[in-house]
């Protein structure tokens, strides 16, 4: 491994990490602003112009607050919970291709940390690990509400991983590859996977709402029943870590959905534009397009949150096991038949 390669990856990782933290921080502001606008209010607007510095103020508040660790809690696991939640939220972005290769001084720089050939499965694995933080944190608090939240988080995440995985299988039948880079390259020229997998996309979307614990599936932390769910006992920065992890998860989920179903960094006329502006600006524009898609998804997440009420727990389980899983299996069967027939006769 040459030094330049290590340096390149190090810079890329740092930038991606900082950008995702920034996006997560500003998601908190966006959430409050969007909530305000949807409810005929204006949202926070005091800190800085239009409330621009509100995330900084919130972060500072989180740091300055008193950290309370309950006496009867398991101290090590109590601290490990939010740390794990933050960790698993951060590592998901490693395999997402953020843009086409940049050619800088005769050197090709990939805008992707790791192009592993099991990228889709890696995302899936990281998503399934995400629940540990909530479970450990909820259990270590030694509080019944927290435990209920943790148990709900676990069962919900397990239940919705299955239809998510099944909808991914149908997608893989179309793409024939597990590498995210190749999946994006295949969608070049308006050939987006949403056209081939509309049902699969809807299932994936619903499941990603459940996996990120967003309303209407935010039962692990629902205030009306469980006080705060798994983070009832948390305060200060550990509480902030949990909240941050949620927004990071949302960012990664949006990035994955744009990559898998909406062509990633592709946009109509990408070749024409990149011929026009050269090999450095072109990829950056493509990256901006990907981020625009991600922000659209984040907006969608928030829009749904402030529209749809929370599901009841039995409704959640019924939807997962009795609706989404059969639908996902049917989707696999139909996709398989269509692809086989298409390959045979055309």
């Amino acid at each position: 491994m040459e030094l330049a390669f290590v340096l390149e990856k190090f810079i890329l990782i740092t930038v991606i990490f900082l950008v995702s933290l920034g996006v997560a921080a500003y998601s908190t502001l966006a959430e409050r602003k969007i909530a305000g606008y949807l409810q005929d209010r204006v949202g926070p607007n005091r800190a800085g112009p239009g409330g621009m510095f509100q995330p900084l103020a919130d972060g500072l508040k989180m740091f300055m607050k008193e950290e309370i660790i309950p006496t009867d809690s398991n101290k090590f696991l109590f601290i490990a919970g939010p740390s794990l939640a933050l960790l698993t939220a951060c590592i998901g972005s490693a395999v997402i291709p953020w843009g086409p290769n940049i050619i800088l001084g005769g050197k090709t720089i990939a805008l992707q940390v790791a192009d592993i050939n099991v990228g889709v499965l890696y995302i899936f694995g990281v998503v399934s690990l995400g629940v540990y933080g909530l479970m450990i944190g909820g259990w270590a608090s030694n509080n019944k509400f927290s435990l209920m939240g943790a148990v709900r988080a676990a069962s919900q995440s397990i239940s919705y991983e299955i239809p998510m995985g099944l909808s991914l299988i149908a997608l893989l039948l179309v793409t024939n590859t597990l590498s995210l880079k190749e999946i994006v390259e295949q969608q070049h020229g308006g050939n987006w996977n949403i056209i081939y997998q509309p049902l699969g996309f809807i299932i994936f979307l619903v499941c990603s709402f459940a996996e990120t614990n967003r309303t209407p599936f935010d039962l692990p932390e629902c205030e009306t029943e469980l006080v705060g769910g798994y983070h009832t006992e948390y305060s200060g920065f550990k509480m902030g870590a949990f909240m941050f992890a949620e927004y990071l998860n949302m960012f990664v989920a949006s990035a994955v959905m744009s990559t898998l179903y909406f062509g990633g960094y592709n946009y109509p006329g990408i070749d024409w534009v990149s011929n026009l502006v050269g090999p450095i600006i072109g990829p950056l524009i493509a990256m901006a397009v990907l981020f625009a898609k991600i922000f659209a998804f984040i907006f969608f997440f928030m829009w749904v949150r402030w529209t749809v009420p929370r599901f009841r727990y039995d409704q959640l389980m019924n939807l997962g096991w009795k609706v989404l899983i059969p639908l996902a299996i049917a989707n696999i069967v139909i996709s398989g038949i269509v692809i086989t027939v298409y390959d045979k006769f055309f």
Partner: protein
């Protein structure tokens, strides 16, 4: 409560969800109801009860005679006062022979019911001020005469006895 079994269209969930989302999206472009309070104040109604003010008469003398009826009528027991006798030469300050040397209202206790206003025989207290501002310390919510008393009218009108 009787619930009709849902038909297929309703069981799809999605139409209803999209309907709801269309409604919330429309609200994004509606006029915002927010009033930016410290800069813009909302119009108060005519019988609005806000911060108390101790009134003066037309000669600029304090009307209050420290009878204690306001404190007696106060359901929240927010009013305390210490009465004192008017000395010679103070006739231009106090209208009655007895006056309130100390008059304090605890704004954290006050419920702005306006009973003190009704109880006052001298028309000395009115709840016609603005909203009581927020503060950091409890002691700063005890408003004395320095904050409650109406500003004296211009000095040339005051009676010189």
């Amino acid at each position: 409560m009787d619930q009709k079994p849902m038909n297929f269209w309703e069981r799809m969930y999605f139409p209803a969800i999209f309907q709801g989302m269309a409604i919330t999206f429309k609200h994004m472009f509606k006029k915002k109801e927010t009033i930016f309070y410290p800069e813009v104040e909302r119009e108060f109604s005519e019988n609005w009860r806000g911060l108390h003010s101790l009134k003066r008469d037309e000669l600029g003398r304090e009307r209050c005679t420290a009878c204690g009826l306001c404190a007696l009528s106060c359901p929240a027991e927010a009013i305390t006062m210490i009465a004192s006798e008017r000395q010679k030469g103070e006739e231009h300050l106090y209208r009655e022979e007895k006056y309130a040397a100390v008059y304090e209202i605890n704004m954290l206790r006050c419920i702005f019911c306006g009973l003190c206003e009704e109880a006052c025989p001298k028309e000395a207290i009115y709840l016609d001020g603005p909203i009581v501002p927020a503060d950091y310390l409890r002691k700063d919510f005890i408003y004395g005469k320095d904050k409650l008393l109406e500003d004296p009218i211009a000095s040339d009108l005051t009676l010189n006895i």
